[in-house]
């Protein structure tokens, strides 16, 4: 598998979500994506099963509507 290339990824992901990315922001964005990739690798160490639900739980409303 090829290594993660944060700069190439940033350009493509920005295009995908319609986010203009000026050249002057690229070094900072790359640095932050590199850090995020390290954090994601840490998170990936947590063993999870299909029974592990995500933390946020939707509520339909705290009380019935008036």
């Amino acid at each position: 598998m090829p290594e993660f290339d944060p700069e190439a990824y940033a350009r493509q992901a920005a295009a995908a979500v319609g986010l203009p990315l000026h050249e002057k922001h690229l070094p900072g964005v790359v640095m932050n994506l590199t850090l995020a990739a390290r954090m994601a690798a840490l998170v990936a160490q947590m063993p999870l099963t299909p029974a592990d639900e995500a933390a946020p739980v939707f509520t339909a409303g705290r009380t019935p509507p008036k």
Binding site: A10, V29, L33, M39, L48, D52
Partner: protein, 461 residues
Amino acid sequence: MSAATIAAEIRAGRRRAAEVVEAHLADIAARDARFNAFTEVTAARARAEAAAVDAAVAAGRDPGPLAGVPVAVKNLFDLEGVVTLAGAKIERDSPPARADAFLVQRLRAAGAVMLGALNMDEYAYGFTTENAHFGPCHNPHDLTRIAGGSSGGSAAAVAAGLVPITLGSDTNGSIRVPSSLCGIWGLKPTYGRLSRRGAFLFVGALDHLGPFARDVADLALAYNALQGDDAEDHAQAWRGVEPVSLEGAADLRIGILDDHFARNGHAEAFAAVEAVARALGATSRVALPDAAIGRAAAFLITMAEGANLHLPNLRARSEDFDPGTCDRFLAGALLPATWVQQAQRARAAYRAKALALFEEFDVLIAPATPYVAPPIGQEMIEVDGQSIPVRPNLGIYTQPISCIGLPVIAAPVAGVPTPGDMPIGVQLIGAPWAEDKLFRLAAHLERIGACRAPNPRDTHA
């Protein structure tokens, strides 16, 4: 003067709220330029509210537990008629708030007098309050150093004695970090305890609101007043008002957090924990399993949620963001969904492991910050022989805790030698909804002299 003393004097008719508010307005006008804590002073509102308190006292009505107490809030809380800046130049273009935030309403109902809005990191995304639009907030203990953030103005205003009580928000440490760096008390309640209505969102999954004060009695006074049912905050888990007490800590089982919380910082952070442990005779050390994973999960959720909230402005006017936050927001808008969803599932699994610790312990003690306040503008810092970015590392001990919504009191530790004689705090961490135990322990630590808010030298000279 403490909030409790001010309220007692006014309730007893020995002082008038109008005099108190004028003295505080004059003090802010004279001294705040040093700290840059206030971004807006609501003098007319404060005078009207003080007059109402004086009228209530004169008419024999109960003026409330915070009668005439001057307060101020981080500038992400809605104040009726004031533009809610959330630390952002972009928000200057927004219309003034139409109503007070829920917690501001609670303070007012308790008789408090609103003096204004306080400096913060842009959109709460930072730990330093080095705001490019409104200027950096200065630490009252050393004006060349940061106050911490993102609720830096809230902590500096209390530490400097400009007001006895302020409100802030804490998503990853934004109440606890500035409390530690400014040497005051701060409370991040359990996630879902206090309503967030009318406070500018940062990361809905992790946002908490809470008070700052210079002593535990004032912190409790504020917290008790802030509790209230609000069906409009879907994240509030209402349990009824649960007032906290300050008496009795002998029954509390104390654990000292090890592992992640015994690394990644400077000697003074660990000396602060040791001093508190010694004062309590606490010797049980325990690891919080997967704390580093919890921190990483909070980091990713914050990036993604925070960025998505501001996507329209990131697309249209990224040049108007603070250079200190802009690239983080831009990167956050690009994270793979897999990273973020995995973080939300890992977070729940981590919570289950963490909650198991409270079968054995009532309160866990950990450092609040890895070091004392760094100089304004400092980029890097040496930790464990490595040079690392000073700013994100400030949340290394707070992020794993807010990730799972546990209540925390940040306590200023007394008598620990530190660089520059700067203050530093510890976290007193409880099980969900166990704020009462935290307050009892905090009051005990204050009574025995192990924790107290130091007086800044610069401001009282």
